[in-house]
């Protein structure tokens, strides 16, 4: 329950720092300086942008359906924000702690699509409508491989509860952890750290993670899947007609979504809030960087590790955005339906066999 007080400031700070980081990273990749004028190294640039956005006139086009137009940013932001409700932050701090956590998460971020469709249709602008249609087609196409790849993890961990999935990837794991899952003679439960992560515990999850990562990029409408907002052909896609603070919520939701899928990736594949450092003999790195369960330090370490992993994920998103060119719509659909979906169905069966073989 108290995670609400953590996530609301986080989603705001994340957007402010994320936009600044994106500008600086894109500038670095393209060999430019990026923002330099506002504050030292342009660090106040996004703050200045927010001050501008607050003062900006809120225009609702006369031809628009104003009810849908005004409701859309609310729906989009709320859908993304309520996804954070089930994210566990440390061993003792687990948000809603639902038994169907990951299922709920997939369901609630799908509501995002409704908001996008409302924004595009309600604007009554051709650019917005095309952007929204493309966006919806893309998000629902990639939801299938995304869901299937999450399902693979669920099959291996046998739980939908994100906290249970997190717990099974560290020192507090209730099950025995074997080296790479196959070397049954080596019980590494006491090592913890990176050896307990799902992706190392069950190396079959590495291709699953690749599918998850590609699908999550598409879910965020980020390049190379940014057709909905392709600025060179569609101005700004579904939020062409928005201005002022309503527009700001689209940005907030976009960066919130990046954070959410990066956190989900960290929880499902990279050990959630568990430390990456293993115990080695007398050098108890994992114990030192975890803190005793329930103690104050365990909260700090949990939040620290989860956020670091999520920020690395966000950095990957930005890196890819500024490296690869945009896909064409037919390539986009081919990739989802002809490659990722059959591949994830195959991986689903392999994961089932893996799980049964592991417990045999």
């Amino acid at each position: 329950m108290t995670t609400f007080l953590f996530f609301l400031p986080l989603i705001l700070t994340n957007a402010v720092l994320g936009i600044y980081a994106e500008r600086k990273i894109s500038a670095f990749i393209q060999d430019r300086m990026g923002p330099m004028e506002t504050g030292k190294f342009g660090i106040l640039q996004t703050t200045a942008d927010i001050v501008k956005l607050i003062q900006k006139e809120d225009i609702v086009p006369a031809a628009a359906d104003w009810k849908l137009f005004k409701l859309a940013p609310v729906i989009i932001f709320t859908a993304v924000f309520s996804g954070f409700a089930v994210i566990p932050l440390s061993g003792a701090w687990d948000g809603a702690g639902l038994e169907i956590g990951v299922f709920y998460l997939l369901a609630i971020i799908s509501l995002d699509v409704l908001g996008i469709l409302m924004a595009g249709w309600g604007s009554n602008s051709k650019f917005s409508l095309f952007g929204a249609l493309r966006s919806v087609a893309q998000i629902i196409s990639y939801e299938v491989p995304l869901g299937l790849s999450v399902l693979c993890v669920v099959m291996i961990t046998q739980s939908l509860d994100l906290q249970e999935i997190s717990l099974s990837q560290g020192l507090q794991s209730p099950n025995a952890v074997y080296l790479f899952g196959v070397v049954k003679s080596m019980d590494v439960s006491q090592w913890g750290g990176v050896f307990a992560w799902n992706i190392v515990q069950a190396p079959l999850l590495i291709p699953v993670f690749v599918i998850f990562f590609i699908a999550s990029l598409a879910e965020c409408n980020r390049a190379p899947f940014d057709l909905p907002e392709a600025e060179s052909e569609l101005i700004a896609g579904y939020h062409t007609e928005y201005s002022g603070f309503r527009w700001a919520f689209f940005m907030l939701a976009e960066y919130g979504m990046m954070m959410l899928v990066s956190m989900l990736a960290a929880i499902l594949f990279f050990g959630a809030w568990n430390t990456p450092l293993p115990n080695m003999g007398v050098v108890k790195l994992a114990d030192w960087t975890t803190g005793a369960p329930g103690s104050f330090m365990s909260y700090i370490w949990g939040v620290f590790w989860l956020l670091s992993k999520a920020l690395i994920g966000m950095f990957m998103h930005m890196w890819i955005r500024w490296t690869y060119p945009r896909l064409r719509i037919d390539q986009l659909m081919n990739l989802s339906w002809k490659y990722l979906t059959p591949a994830s169905i195959l991986l689903l069966l392999l994961c089932g066999i893996w799980r049964l073989w592991m417990i045999a």
Binding site: I54, Q55, A96, D330, W337, R355, L356
Partner: protein
């Protein structure tokens, strides 16, 4: 402070998100100017006056994608509860390993039937996105081809006579 249940927390997040958006838009409303005029309120179309409403026809492909999506999303809804029980150690041990393989076999049949649906859509070409066929335009001229050839031959012979002056790079 009373502890909220799991779904209570989710309700808190949903209401909290809603209220946060309304509060910030409300705050911006106090600060921002509001001077609409007819130019500002027109739909943006790169400076042109919009001639028609955007609420018209759009590509039927989007419907087909939505239908295929629906098929697989329903499959996912069925698979999620199954995934948490098929490999439970107690159940597998109690049946001597039979439980897991039987459950997996059953689900394989179910997934394969759905995969057959994908193969059907693929074979029927529903997954192909229409692409415009680029055709070279024909420019039929009344001037016969031989005349063009004669002219170009003449030009070539003139060009061959003119000495090419190579500029010295300084």
């Amino acid at each position: 402070m009373p502890e909220l249940s799991g779904f209570g927390t989710i309700l808190l997040f949903i209401i909290g998100g809603f209220v946060f958006v309304l509060l910030s838009v409300g705050f911006a409303m106090l600060v921002r100017p509001n001077r609409p005029n007819i130019e500002k309120l027109t739909t943006y179309e790169c400076g042109e006056n919009p001639s028609t409403s955007a609420w018209g026809k759009f590509n039927v492909r989007f419907y087909i994608v939505a239908l295929i999506f629906l098929l697989f999303e329903v499959e996912l809804v069925f698979l999620f509860p199954w995934a948490t029980v098929f490999g439970q150690k107690e159940l597998v041990d109690a049946t001597g390993g039979l439980w897991g393989w039987f459950a997996l076999g059953e689900m394989t049949v179910f997934v394969l039937i759905l995969a057959l649906g994908l193969v059907f859509a693929w074979a029927k070409g529903y997954l192909e996105w229409e692409r415009p066929v680029v055709e070279a335009t024909r420019m039929d001229s009344k001037v016969p081809d031989k005349l063009y050839e004669a002219v170009s031959k003449k030009v070539k012979s003139i060009r061959a006579e003119v000495p090419v002056v190579k500029e010295e790079v300084v």
